[in-house]
């Protein structure tokens, strides 16, 4: 049974149709790539799933529950996590504070005011900092980190909420080859705990990493399959050829 399903999503912005029949089906602990040429609707679909944009038609189902019109915070509490295209970490807070912020989401407001979970979460912070190689910068302001470190911190924050599905919008954007490789390792490690949906322009990265790939074109679903199936699919070839 899929952990995340987006059915026949439609979305218009004024006269522009961003999505006309977008579909996505993700199995638990699967790394699922979402690809397509520029303007194909990948980011819009991601935003519809995350709750940033409400669809005009269609539905989003997470772990058997319809979340189509749920608030982003409710989706997050049900296990949906997102890393944005441009890293959105809290630049004026330290790396450790950013992680604590993500980890303490489940604590009640009274618990937060009384700082009840701070000590308990410290070991979780240490573990995540170690996993993501951020231990040496734990007390630095997030805004002082390199681009790659900020991306990793945001992935770490998304993972810290213990999600069932994590959405990664261009996780390797602007990264060096070495940083991309490290990011791939982090995503593989994440997939041992949750499903991962990735939007990425680097098709080699997607091919190496993903279990399955969905292709969108002009807001419509084109194909879904393994990387090998997608490579052989003539509809996909046509999509990428026609845009040139």
């Amino acid at each position: 049974m899929p952990i995340l399903t987006a059915n026949s999503i439609q979305k218009r912005f004024g006269t522009v149709t961003a999505l006309s029949d977008a579909r996505l089906e993700v199995e638990p602990r699967q790394i699922h790539g979402l690809i397509g040429p520029n303007g194909s609707g990948k980011s819009t679909l991601m935003h519809v799933i995350a709750g940033r944009t409400l669809p005009d038609a269609g539905s989003v189902v997470l772990d058997g529950q319809d979340i189509t019109r749920a608030r982003p915070s409710d989706r997050a509490r049900r296990g949906l996590s997102i890393k944005f295209q441009l890293a959105r970490v809290y630049r004026d807070q330290t790396v450790e504070e950013n992680l604590l912020l993500a980890l303490q989401v489940g604590t009640s407001m009274a618990g937060l005011i009384l700082s009840r979970s701070r000590k308990r979460l410290r070991s979780d912070i240490d573990r995540i900092l170690g996993d993501f190689g951020l231990m040496s910068v734990r007390h630095r302001l997030a805004g002082e980190l390199s681009h790659g470190e900020q991306q990793w911190l945001e992935i770490a924050m998304a993972m810290a909420t213990d999600p069932t599905v994590i959405l990664l919008d261009e996780p390797t954007g602007g990264m060096s080859r070495q940083e991309r490789s490290r990011t791939g390792e982090l995503i593989r490690a994440a997939a041992t705990r949750c499903a991962v949906v990735i939007i990425e322009h680097d098709l080699d990265f997607i091919r190496e990493l993903c279990d399955r790939i969905t292709v969108l074109h002009q807001g419509q679903w084109v194909a879904t399959g393994t990387p090998a199936e997608i490579e052989r699919d003539p509809r996909v070839a046509e999509v990428y050829l026609t845009r040139v």
Partner: protein, 331 residues
């Protein structure tokens, strides 16, 4: 601490020197500081750009004034408690209207709605006979504490100081808590906070409600100290004045807003009296200079001093609220 210590010394000194005028000015500045420090928790720390915080100050003042004059209640604790409750209820109702809804709430929206509210309520208070219309509520009796009347001058100075210290303590505790991370997260990127799972409206409403309650208590104390409630206590002038205190002192810092009040209301008192027409221009010019050269208010002078003393090769740290700079684990 240094600020509180200086004020603790200043009160009795002024009293001993027979400077009752300055003592009353200082007392009122302390009560306005309570309003400014609490408003800063909403605006400076949580990003709720409230342009109408005087509404709650005024609610508190009217609640205390009406209770004291119509029902004969003089107990300071009862008056402050009733005013606080009125402020909390008003904060809940107005906050629910402001923060709940499908759309994200921008700073400008909150600013415009609260500005309209403070303007409308001041106008209403000016014409509503039940609360004294334009005359306000004169003759508010002096309050009592444990059966003893609290006179203006040094006794009331101590009451005001306790109120400010309590506000500082609450603020410091809040800013050291895990909740402060959420407050700042909502201020810096509320959408990101929502995607992490935080319910922005609840966070904003909780802060707004607490801050409104504190503002109302400050208003009640101000009213019984002055013995009078004026429609201006609810108005636009005081609401914007509070923002000036915060900007001048240091937005987002705990002590900065109180410094802003003391600078303008005590430090600038003589100039204000000598040049009443020019005073707004002077304040405007000061504000302009602060925004241009000390964007973190006079509290920036501290970090500026540290930067100048530091060897040039070391990287400078980003200005952070003095309490927020503490070890996040409080150790």
């Amino acid at each position: 601490m240094a600020l509180v210590a200086a004020v603790v010394v200043a009160g009795p000194l002024l009293d001993a020197a027979g400077q009752s005028y300055w003592l009353v000015s200082l007392t009122r500045a302390l009560l306005l500081s309570v309003l400014a420090v609490s408003t800063n928790l909403a605006w400076g720390v949580t990003g709720i750009f409230t342009l109408g915080q005087a509404v709650f100050f005024g609610f508190g003042a009217y609640a205390a004034g009406l209770l004291a004059t119509k029902s004969g209640v003089t107990s300071l604790l009862v008056l402050a408690g009733a005013a606080g409750a009125a402020g909390v209820i008003a904060g809940l109702v107005i906050g629910a209207f402001l923060f709940f809804g499908r759309r994200r709430v921008g700073e400008l929206y909150v600013g415009l709605v609260t500005l309209a509210l403070t303007y409308a309520l001041e106008r209403l208070a000016t014409v509503w006979d039940v609360i004294g219309a334009a005359n306000g509520i004169p003759g508010v009796p002096l309050p009592t504490l444990l059966g003893t009347e609290i006179e203006t001058g040094l006794p009331f100075f101590w009451v005001a100081l306790v109120a400010l210290v309590a506000t500082f303590a609450l603020g410091a505790w809040l800013l050291r808590s895990q909740f402060a991370l959420v407050m700042r997260a909502v201020r810096d990127d509320d959408e990101r906070a929502e995607f992490l799972g935080y319910r922005r409206p609840q966070v904003q409403l909780a802060v707004f409600t607490v801050v409104s309650g504190i503002g109302a208590i400050a208003g009640a104390l101000y009213a019984v100290e002055e013995g009078f409630v004026s429609p201006s206590f609810l108005g636009v002038a005081l609401s914007t004045q509070v923002l000036v205190y915060i900007l001048l002192g240091g937005r987002g810092t705990l002590v900065g807003p109180a410094l802003g009040v003391l600078l303008l209301e005590v430090g600038g008192q003589r100039i204000q009296e000598s040049l009443p027409s020019e005073w707004p221009i002077i304040v405007g010019a000061m504000l302009l200079l602060v925004i241009m050269f000390l964007p973190g208010g006079v509290m920036d002078l501290r970090s500026l001093g540290r930067t100048l003393r530091r060897p040039a090769v070391q990287p400078t740290s980003t200005m952070r609220p003095e309490v927020a700079g503490a070890d996040p684990h409080g150790e």
